[in-house]
Symmetry: C2
Subunit: 208 residues, 2 copies
C-alpha cells in the first residue's frame, strides 16, 4: 500500500540480496540490479540514497534472518550453536556476508546475536571485561573462518597448485605437509577451532 509502482524497498532489497549472493561482490552493480528489476537504474535512487545505503539494508535483511538459538544453560554448547548459526548464515549469503565483513558501522540487526553471545558468557560466570573480550575473539574466529570457506580455501585441486607453488624455494616442512594442508574437512576444521577457543576460555573464567 505504500507503493503503487512496481518498486518497493522490500522488493529491491530482496532482489539485491539474491543478486549479491549469486553473482558475488564483483558481479553486483546498481545497473545490473536495475536490469533485473526491469527498471531504469536511477529508479532505485528514489528508494535509497546510494549504493551503500542499499547495501546497509541488504545486510540488515541478512542479519535479521540469522538463527539465534535459545540458551540451554550449557554455555559451551550455546556458544557453539551461536557460532554454527553464524556460519550457516554466511554460507547462505556468501556475497552479502563478505560485504558485511568489510563494513565498519554498527548494524542494528547484529545486536540480537551479540546480545546472545554476551549474556551467555555472563551467565557462565565470565567477568564483564572477559566476556567482552571472549566474544570478540569468538566472532573474529567464526566470521573469518566463514569468509575463508566462502572464498574456497578447501578445494582439493589446490593440492597440486600448492606443490607447484612450493617449488619456488626450499620449504621442507610445508612440502612434507602438502597432503594434510590440501585435505580439509571444513566441518571438523571449524569444530577444532571452537574446541581450542572454548578450552582456552574455560581455563581462566575467574581471571581479570
Amino acid at each position: 500500500m505504500k507503493t503503487r509502482g512496481k518498486l518497493s524497498r522490500e522488493r529491491i532489497v530482496q532482489l539485491a540480496l539474491s543478486l549479491l549472493d549469486s553473482a558475488g561482490t564483483e558481479g553486483f552493480s546498481m545497473r545490473k540490479l536495475a536490469a533485473q528489476l526491469e527498471v531504469d537504474p536511477m529508479a532505485i535512487y528514489y528508494h535509497f540514497a546510494n549504493k551503500s545505503d542499499l547495501l546497509h539494508a541488504v545486510m540488515q535483511s541478512m542479519m535479521e534472518n540469522c538463527e539465534v538459538p535459545e540458551p540451554s544453560g550449557d554455555w559451551r554448547a550455546d556458544i557453539r550453536n551461536l557460532c554454527h548459526g553464524l556460519r550457516r548464515m554466511a554460507k547462505k549469503h556468501p556475497g552479502t556476508f563478505c560485504i558485511y565483513e568489510t563494513y565498519d558501522q554498527w548494524l542494528p540487526a547484529e545486536h540480537r546475536l551479540h546480545e546472545a553471545f554476551h549474556s551467555t558468557l555472563l551467565q557462565a560466570g565470565f567477568s564483564r571485561k572477559r566476556a567482552v573480550r571472549a566474544v570478540r575473539v569468538l566472532l573474529i574466529y567464526a566470521e573469518a573462518f566463514a569468509v575463508d570457506e566462502i572464498s574456497g580455501w578447501l578445494d582439493p585441486a589446490d593440492q597440486a597448485e600448492l606443490a607447484e607453488s612450493l617449488r619456488s624455494g626450499p620449504y621442507p616442512t610445508l612440502s612434507s605437509l602438502i597432503e594434510e594442508i590440501g585435505t580439509v574437512d571444513a566441518d571438523s576444521e571449524f569444530e577444532f577451532g571452537l574446541d581450542v577457543l572454548i578450552s582456552g576460555l574455560e581455563s581462566g573464567i575467574r581471571e581479570t
Copy 2:
C-alpha cells in the same frame, strides 16, 4: 639495466604499494597510479598483464618484507612472535593487507611465514594433522584481528554510536556493557586472543 625508460616493474610495484597503503583499496586505481608515475595509464600494461597481476606483485613485495623471527625453542613464545610479526606487517601495509585477505591464490612469499609456523609446532610435538589445523586457526585469528584493527574497530568515538544504535531494541546485556565494548586496547586485546588460543592448543598436543 633491464629498462632504459622511466618505468620498471620495481618502481611501479613500490609506488603501487605506497599508494594502496595511503589511499586504501577504494582510492587506488591504475589511472591514479599512472598519474603518480607521470605516465600514460597504459604504460603500466607493458610491465604487467593487468591489475590483479600488478596486485599480486605488490602483495609479494609486502610478504617478502614480513619479519619472520628465528625459533627460540619455546614454541609458545615463537608462535606469539610470528603472530606479532604478521600484525606489524598488516599495520604497516593496511591497504595491501586487506587485498591480501581477500586473495584466493597462493603467494610464494607467504610460504616463508607458513613454514616457520608449521615447523615450530611440529618441533613442539604436535602431530602433523594437529599442527596444520593449529596453524590455520592461528592465522585466521591473527589476520582477521589485524583487518578489524585496520578498519578501525577500536575508536573510542564508537561508544556513543553504539549507545545510539542500541536504542533500536531492548538489549539489556549489551547496554550494560557499552563501556567495556567501547574501551578497547588493541595490544592487550590481541594478547588475550593469543593466550586463549595457545592455552587451548596446549591442552591437547598429544591428541588426534
